[in-house]
């Protein structure tokens, strides 16, 4: 199952506007998309679930997609979130 790791760089964290863009983009794809943050998971197609993660600035998120268009979905989500996130540094070692 493909995934990507991102760091939230927006000084307000993943706030309402980017979260809404995120949900609007995710729902265009058939794949199930999950966002992992700080030991919790949320359905990326649910704004309530996403805002409920209370994702703070500089924190790391992992997006995971499962389905026929998983790779396209992750690419589209990363592109949509570009002003708000950066690729996470690979873990040392």
């Amino acid at each position: 199952m493909p995934d990507i790791r991102l760091t939230v760089i927006d000084p307000s964290g993943l706030h309402a506007r980017p979260a809404a863009r995120f949900v609007q983009t995710a729902t265009r794809f058939a794949s199930r998309i999950t966002i992992h943050h700080d030991g919790r998971d949320a359905d990326a197609k649910s704004l309530i679930a996403l805002l409920g993660l209370t994702i703070r600035p500089s924190s790391e998120i992992t997006l995971e997609a499962d389905g026929p268009d998983a790779d396209q979905a992750l690419a589209a989500l990363a592109a949509e979130l570009t002003p708000y996130v950066a690729a996470a540094a690979e873990p040392a070692g």
């Binding site: 809404a20 309530i48 209370t54």
Partner: protein
């Protein structure tokens, strides 16, 4: 697409809320507001509410979710709904959700082409959603 009608005792409040809704959810979701009395005081007005509902129906909202603040807003809304014909009344759903948070969650849900049931459920989630980081 499902449309929204936002009702408050304060015109200023719903004008600001509409700005927030459009910025978060985009400008495709039909949103109408009814705030204050007909002479511009704090309060609610059945004719204002009826006009907002009518404009949203006419703007092509398939179904409409109405969110309101409290107190007499519900009474004024009831009066406004009585004037609708049966077919239009069937397209209007009234939400128990908190006005501000519910409107934003509902608008995002509507923006992705969700049904009235899904939009209403999204708004209801506003009552229990987390706002502060987990301790």
């Amino acid at each position: 697409m499902v449309g929204l009608v936002l009702i408050s005792h304060s015109g200023t409040l719903v004008e600001g809320l509409r700005d927030m809704v459009v910025q978060v959810a985009g400008d495709e979701v039909p949103v109408a507001i009814a705030g204050g009395t007909q002479d511009g005081r704090l309060g609610t007005s059945a004719p204002h509410i009826a006009a907002a509902i009518r404009s949203t129906l006419d703007a092509g909202g398939d179904d409409i979710l109405v969110l309101l603040d409290l107190g007499s807003a519900a009474l004024s809304l009831e009066i406004a709904l009585e004037d609708l014909d049966v077919a239009d009344r069937a397209r209007v759903r009234v939400s128990e959700a908190p006005l501000v948070e519910g409107a934003i969650l509902a608008a995002v849900q509507a923006s992705i082409g969700a049904s009235i049931d899904e939009v209403a459920a999204a708004a209801d989630g506003a009552a229990t959603m987390a706002k502060l980081p987990r301790a």
